[in-house]
């Protein structure tokens, strides 16, 4: 007889300002349930510290629908499956191979049937329309070999919010099986590019991390570049060519309100938030020199961090805020340097052949990602903060501008193609370098930046 865990629900009222989704009006309830403790040795797990990972075979029969409209249950299952597949850590099995069919969240799995098709994990679920119009989604994650439930949760949400709910469930599955935070309930801000190469129109845009729900944040009347997410508010900082000098701006994604960051005597560019979200670090161009400045967003106080006759740019804080990595050509070519957050003790960390640029510190603190140019090729790579352990994850005609997923497992970057009809597209690659995928966008797209985890 199978021991089945109960579904536990804890209703959470998220802070709407923190979550910041226009779609999340009204009482959105997100559920939470504890994992059911079982002997750890019996459970299927993915060790993501390995280099080349064999994806875990997982079966996701379409969630059952009780009164829910249209194909929402099947659509949610597809979104969960696609999230897990794109991570490179899971291999969702072909539903045509399933022996046991018509599953719902209360079905008793015939584990032999699932073992026979080599599934190691199984997810069952049901989507139920509530009398008040909301959706209730329940799911269970099963260890096929142990014959045990690993996780059971239920969530409530408004029907239009179904995609987000699917991402939250995918995150729960990812987290339970890998032991690390998921990153599916997140968004990516980027620059939408359209029109011929010599008359490109660029707009800030935002989309879910799987490319859905694209929304434009600027109109295309001004050139916009390098948007970066705030770590804790629904804000992006970016560079825009408006009136006067091109400058760093802040944009509130919810209200559309924007403001110039600081009152600098020259062009400011290459902005990025500090880990606490309270300041912006950026370059200020003065004559032929670019130096790095920090501005406290509350006191409006500015601090100069570098003072060189070189191009110092692309600053990025370590997650603990104690250090800054940046690129500089002070030694003759673009190289990476790490300095203390007060600007002292800058040390060069990149020493391989070629030019290094656009460094960005991993949210886990353990790695720095960068663009590298060598012999006409553009690469995305990673190294440790001391400069050791350099690894190139992808290379080609033009790869540029990596940004980290909030769990530090995946990099998003853009890849440009040559010639008059060429243009940039957004790609992701995980830390193994084996799982490289294009992210669909409506048109050309560049300068992607990942949001923090929404919850």
């Amino acid at each position: 007889m199978l021991m089945r865990g109960m579904l536990k629900t804890l209703t959470v009222f998220p802070n709407l300002r923190e979550i910041g989704r226009m779609a999340l009006r009204g009482a959105v309830l997100l559920g939470f349930a504890a994992a059911f403790s079982q002997p750890a040795s019996a459970l299927v797990e993915i060790d993501i510290t390995q280099g080349n990972i064999e994806p875990l075979p997982i079966a996701l029969p379409s969630f059952a629908s009780e009164g829910a409209e249209g194909s929402v249950a099947a659509d949610m299952t597809s979104v969960i499956s696609a999230d897990l597949k794109r991570s490179g850590l899971f291999n969702p099995l072909d539903p045509a191979s399933f022996i046991q069919t018509n599953m719902n969240v209360n079905s008793t799995p015939r584990f032999g049937d699932w073992r026979q098709i080599s599934a190691q994990a199984l997810v069952t679920g049901t989507v139920i329309k509530q009398p008040d119009g909301r959706l209730r989604a329940e799911f269970r994650l099963w260890d096929v070999f142990a014959g045990e439930q690993m996780l059971g949760q239920q969530f409530y949400t408004t029907p239009e919010n179904w995609r987000r709910l699917a991402h939250i469930i995918a995150d729960a599955i990812y987290e339970r099986l890998t032991g690390e935070k998921g990153y599916f309930d997140t968004r990516i801000v980027f620059v939408d590019e359209r029109g011929p190469k010599d008359k490109r129109v660029k707009r800030l845009a935002i989309m879910d991390q799987d490319g859905a729900n694209v929304r434009y944040l600027t109109k295309g009347d001004e050139l916009v570049l390098t948007p970066r997410f705030s770590p804790n508010r629904q804000e992006v900082t970016y560079m825009s060519y408006g009136a006067g000098d091109p400058s760093v701006y802040l944009l509130n994604i919810e209200t559309g309100q924007r403001e110039i960051v600081g009152n600098f005597p020259g062009m400011t560019f290459a902005p990025r938030f500090s880990p606490d979200g309270q300041s912006v670090i950026m370059s200020l161009q003065q004559g032929g020199n670019a130096n790095i400045f920090e501005m406290d967003l509350r006191s409006r106080r500015t601090t100069r961090l570098t003072n060189s006759t070189a191009i110092d740019t692309s600053p990025s804080f370590s997650p603990d805020g104690s250090k800054v990595v940046f690129e500089s050509d002070r030694g003759g070519t673009q190289q990476l340097y790490v300095m203390n957050a007060d600007g002292s003790n800058a040390q060069r960390i990149s020493f391989g052949p070629g030019r290094y640029s656009t460094p960005v510190w991993s949210p886990r603190g353990d790695l720095i990602a960068f663009t590298k140019q060598h012999q006409g090729r553009f690469m995305i790579g990673i190294m440790r903060p001391d400069g050791k352990g350099e690894r190139i994850l992808t290379e080609g005609y033009h790869n540029e501008g990596p940004a980290w997923s909030p769990n530090g497992r995946v990099l998003v970057f853009f890849r440009d193609t040559p010639g008059a009809n060429g243009g940039p597209q957004v790609w992701t690659v995980d830390l193994t370098g084996y799982n490289e995928q294009r992210l669909e966008t409506p048109d050309f797209a560049s300068d992607p930046s990942w949001s923090p985890l929404i919850n």
Partner: protein
């Protein structure tokens, strides 16, 4: 010289350049009865057209460099002479980079190029208060093919007259 003018297709000069291209085409055709002496004779001195056609509005740079070569210095000296003759103009020097670099660096590299051109104009007697600079990095290419013949046209500093008339 006219060959270079032909390549000089800045977005701000579309209207001007229709005329420029016509003039250049005429100049390149010795049999054209409308342009017997091969000069841009129908351009009025002191106009924006005059500046672009007879002086040259841009200089070019080597890869990842902001050093002015002798040809660039000659062009800028001509610009300075012209600007000193027509003091009613203020100018913006736009710095640009080719696409074979990263975005943030190219913004600073374009600024360095604009600054180099500006400093040269100032050294030739143009009042610094008449000159603004801006960098577009790699965001505003004029040539879009995929080899150095295009990239070299994009590595440029362009002197734009802010209050030009034709």
């Amino acid at each position: 010289m006219f060959k270079r003018v032909n390549a000089a297709l800045g977005a701000r000069w579309i209207a001007v350049l229709f005329t420029v291209m016509f003039v250049a085409a005429c100049a390149n055709n010795p049999n054209n009865p409308n342009d017997p002496n091969g000069l841009a004779s129908n351009v009025r001195p002191g106009t924006g057209q005059d500046f672009v056609v007879n002086v040259g509005d841009r200089v070019f740079f080597e890869e990842d460099q902001s050093v002015l070569n002798s040809q660039a210095q000659t062009t800028l000296a001509g610009q300075a002479k012209w600007l000193n003759r027509y003091p009613q103009y203020t100018i913006t020097v736009e710095g640009h980079a080719d696409e074979r670099g990263t975005r943030q660096y190219n913004i600073a590299l374009g600024a360095r190029r604009a600054q180099a051109a500006r400093d040269y104009l100032v050294s030739q007697g143009v009042n610094a208060s008449r000159i603004k600079t801006i960098s577009y990095g790699k965001e505003r290419p004029v040539a879009v093919c995929n080899d150095n013949s295009c990239w070299s046209q994009n590595r440029r500093a362009v002197t734009v007259l802010n209050n030009a008339t034709n």
